[in-house]
Point group: C2
Chain length 138, copies 2
């Protein structure tokens, strides 16, 4: 009820230049840290904080969008496993972290949060190339 | 295709004495580390590794079971936020970590994996009490 101002609703986050596609009820963005290649954020368009707050029809469509995008990411980045995480501890606006985990991943058996690393920000050109790769499969 | 032997399919994991309920396509178990109170594992009954490998009808039902259980956990443990995680990096058999995050949580803004801690194993009596609390709302 008294959530802090929401930077997802304000359009401040995720960064607009990382936009991949409009999937219907959600928007896909390349995560701004590409230490794990292909890490993508799927943002629910309207403000809501928990899956169980959604109408069943919304929840079903949202999860179908999650599934469709995750399949594309798995294929594009040849993932050994996909990780799906809806946390929202810092930003309660529903967003999914969809993370391809690769065979040559620095810690393929661990959650990404257990892998200390410096953020890898791609150049604008690299962002464009990566987004094109994903969009080609969508 | 060549997954290692699956301890979820073998009935070895999660521990049978932590069983909460049969939700339909999935089984709920209290996680055997209760450092984060109420951490629950929802296990898909048949072997599958990714959401996008399921038939849409299965995926929809599974996610409705996730939503229903998460609502109960949020209410039972008075969560400030729920965390939903499907990883499977070590055990690729589909299972959801559903984790109530509390106001008095040691790091409410961080993923649980960033909180080093010793495992808290409840006594059999405490396990029973906690499971009863959850079942009362299901």
């Amino acid at each position: 009820m008294s959530d802090p101002p929401c930077d997802a609703c304000a359009g401040v986050w995720p960064p607009a230049d990382h936009f991949i596609a409009d999937l219907g009820l959600s928007l896909a963005y390349l995560h701004d840290d590409q230490f794990f290649p292909g890490w993508t954020v799927l943002l629910f368009k309207r403000h809501a904080t928990e899956l169980f707050h959604l109408a069943p029809t919304e929840r079903i469509q949202l999860m179908e969008e999650v599934s469709r995008l995750t399949k594309v990411l798995a294929e594009t980045f040849q993932a050994r496993k996909m990780n799906y995480e809806l946390l929202g501890n810092q930003r309660p606006h529903i967003h999914w972290h969809l993370i391809p985990r690769l065979d040559h991943d620095p810690a393929p058996l661990e959650p990404v949060w257990r892998v200390p690393h410096d953020r890898i920000a791609l150049s604008p050109e690299q962002v464009g190339t990566t987004i094109s790769l994903i969009k080609k499969q969508l």
